[in-house]
Subunit: 210 residues, 2 copies
DNA sequence: GAAAACTTGTCACAGTATTCACAAATACTC
DNA sequence: GAGTATTTGTGAATACTGTGACAAGTTTTC
């Protein structure tokens, strides 16, 4: 793996390629070209090749890529060769839905604890797990070697929760609250903003009116 | 509004600025500088000014921006001055969570129908609404003048559902299924991929190991 | 009311990301 | 086995995005 700085857009696409390839594999397809991938995920063939080229030469000229091999490579690159344990903070509708979200499981993510500080939610059962009080978080993080936490709490609580999660030993946060979190530099944070894409649609529809 | 091509990243940030400003307004703050916004959402001040500059001159030199005015402008730009009616297809965990997602409501989105073709889900109640069979979709789209639909069904079903939604008269789709949809050019589609950001985190954590 | 302190809007520049185009390698055809 | 058709990997060209720097305008200070 080269020391080059990899564009985040490349990682994003790699994740998408990887899952597309798994679907091809499930269909029994063994070989694929950059053009096939490109068409399947909606980018250009050159883009696919360039993205892969950051990490090595995985194809054969005149032939294409071996699907199973390329899955292995993309999974390895994305750090998904071994399964990850996650914790979920927030046992509301969104948190609950994410805990049972099958795609996470398919990609090797396993949620090992659900936490909330709302007394009405603590003790509730979600997918075979009991919702625990937030105070239990540090213990679970330590015991299960959890490095990544998901935040699915209301915006107002998100910053405090994030602070506590960092203090609990988590190294990376996936934040579903629509606010920008303040965390130490060494903590990785990515936001999933459920409204943004919707507002891109309304922007475009409004533009069409003209 | 100029005829210039606006980067989608600008629209994305505009949506984020707009919601950040609403929080400032709620706190009673009346004036804000590009630097304040920048700090609040995690971008550079020049970026904020440039993004706004695509659409006009909203600030006062030496002073900054009036919060209420800027909210109005951003909301207008994003096409959110009037409320939007949406339909949700997919009444599983994710679909149900999104139907009750408060942030959508806050931004003027109102879900007027939830549909599914799974008999075990039809008839179920979600947020005061009865889950309807998919066949009812065209009627609701027409009667409520719905232009945007949300897809929260399993990947396997997503393409067929999307086809049906287009045929039902919808003009824009927000797709939560992790696959790339094939739709006519005139239909706007945006994907919300819940796994991608998680895999960016694992990529970065895996990189740190080195 | 002149000077100092801010802050926007914008143009030029720097930096990134994407596309193009083609040599290199492989497979298929007859 | 020579010729044709594929398809990758990649350097160069292009397009796009973000940053820096500063003039222009506003407010505050003394």
């Amino acid at each position: 793996m080269k020391a080059l700085k990899i564009p985040e857009a490349t990682i994003t696409r790699l994740s998408i390629y990887s899952r597309f390839l798994k679907r091809l594999d499930k269909k029994g397809i063994t070989t694929v070209s950059s053009g096939d991938i490109a068409e399947g995920v909606g980018v250009s063939p050159a883009q696919v090749r360039k993205d892969l080229a950051y990490f090595g030469e995985f194809g054969t000229r005149g032939v294409g890529y071996n699907v199973k091999d390329l899955i292995r490579y993309t999974v390895k690159i994305l750090g998904l060769s071994d399964p990850w344990s996650l914790v979920m903070v927030g046992a509301g509708n969104l948190g609950s839905a994410l805990v049972t979200y099958k795609e996470f499981k398919d990609r090797g993510f396993s949620i090992v604890g659900v936490f909330d500080n709302d007394l009405t939610k603590i003790g509730k059962r979600i997918a075979d797990m009991e919702v625990l009080p937030l105070e239990e978080l540090p213990k679970v993080v330590k015991e299960s070697n959890v490095r990544i936490g998901i935040i699915a709490v209301p915006s107002k609580a998100a910053q405090d929760i994030a602070d506590f999660m960092v203090k609990s030993g988590l190294e990376a946060l996936l934040n579903f609250a629509p606010i920008s979190l303040n965390v130490p530099d060494e903590i990785e944070v990515r936001n999933v903003d459920l409204s943004v894409k919707l507002e891109i649609l309304t922007f475009n529809l409004a533009l069409k009116e003209k």
